[in-house]
């Protein structure tokens, strides 16, 4: 009983903490940047085969010929939360230009992810995949969240972005759409 009350108290404490963080002036938060770093000698993308929120298997090898924006994230990661709406706006701006957005959630269950989707400005309409064991982070050599890879039409990792980004910034839209215009091998 006592431990339940304590947990409830810490739940309220977290809520107040998140409220304060959410209301903090933008200048106090580390800025989201808008640069994608080109990867030298673009390597072949590692495999990725995970279930989406509808319990269907999604495999990036079936997406060859399209540009893929692959984002690794978690709901408890502040920059991941901040950039998620901009990923949706990138999706809306590029869906008809051969660009697919995929967000891989690390270590959380469907219910947690679904709850988060209900509280953000522009909730994702692109596929969100679940990696409950976090195995994909090793395969993709992710060292910190969020990390985003842009995979070209030939299945090669063309760009990498470590840390939060404004994905709907014109510079990023130009880089991503530019990849689709490159000739396929």
């Amino acid at each position: 009983m006592q431990s339940k009350m304590l947990c409830g108290a810490y739940g309220v404490c977290l809520f107040v903490f998140l409220l304060v963080v959410a209301n903090s002036r933008a200048a106090d938060l580390p800025p989201l940047t808008h640069n994608l770093a080109a990867v030298e000698n673009p390597p072949a993308a590692p495999p990725l085969r995970l279930k989406n929120m509808d319990d269907e298997i999604v495999d990036i090898k079936d997406m060859r010929g399209q540009v893929i924006v692959l984002n690794f994230w978690a709901t408890w990661c502040p920059p991941c939360r901040r950039e998620m709406s901009s990923l949706e706006r990138l999706h809306l701006a590029t869906a008809d230009k051969g660009v697919l957005i995929l967000a891989v959630n690390i270590g959380e269950d469907e219910e947690t992810v679904f709850s988060f989707m209900g509280v953000i400005d522009a909730a994702p309409t692109f596929p969100v995949l679940l990696d409950p064991d976090s195995h994909s982070l090793e395969q993709w050599k992710v060292q910190g969240l969020p990390t985003t890879y842009i995979i070209d039409q030939n299945g090669r990792v063309a760009y990498r972005a470590v840390g939060g980004r404004e994905f709907d910034h014109p510079d990023i839209i130009k880089q991503v759409v530019g990849l689709h215009k490159k000739p396929q091998n």
């Binding site: 800025p31 770093a37 408890w76 060292q143 972005a161």
Partner: protein
């Protein structure tokens, strides 16, 4: 005469901006009272922000920990840490265990994440809670390209509430070493 005055002003401004670049700042959040120490060195931003023990408890209890399981971590002086490559001369690379906490005339690295994970495993922490813990920590090793690659994450300093220390972050660009130091940083009370 005017030309001389212009040159003097120009040199003064250059000195000001050079000094300003190396200056450490301390800001306090008006709502929470929590302090952030920040410095910029050779194109890299390095900052530490205090985390209250109750904030750390609340964060991890909501990730599936019990209060008992997370107590020793929450009371170990935890900071939210940011490193960002704004415009360093190239890709920066760091290994967190090469950083130094300077306190009481001694130097040691931040508390190793592997040791915390081992302790938490012994306390029967669930798999999903362990994954959240591991990835909420500031990266153990990382590379940032210029133009804004960055991370934020938690670092345990391993000191008691209110303790004061200096911290040196170290990185390299193509093998050339660089460092940034924050002085008189204080653990939240």
């Amino acid at each position: 005469m005017k030309q001389k005055a212009f040159i003097v002003v120009l040199i003064g401004l250059m000195q000001f901006f050079c000094l300003a670049e190396a200056t450490q700042t301390r800001k306090e959040d008006p709502d929470t009272g929590l302090a952030t120490w920040e410095t910029h060195a050779d194109g890299v931003t390095f900052s530490l922000t205090q985390i209250l023990q109750d904030q750390a408890r609340a964060f991890y209890v909501n990730r599936g920990f019990t209060l008992d399981q997370i107590e020793s971590y929450a009371t170990s002086c935890v900071f939210m840490t940011v490193v960002r490559n704004d415009d360093a001369p190239g890709r920066i690379h760091f290994i967190r265990s090469n950083w130094s906490i300077l306190t009481g005339g001694k130097s040691r690295p931040p508390e190793p994440v592997s040791a915390w994970i081992q302790r938490l495993k012994e306390n029967n922490v669930t798999k999903s809670a362990l994954i959240a813990f591991r990835w909420a920590q500031f990266p153990l090793e990382q590379e940032y390209e210029p133009g804004g690659d960055w991370n934020q994450g938690m670092i345990s300093v391993g000191l008691s509430a209110g303790s004061q220390f200096d911290i040196i972050a170290r990185w390299d660009v193509n093998g050339k070493p660089y460092e940034a130091k924050l002085e008189e940083v204080r653990c939240a009370k």
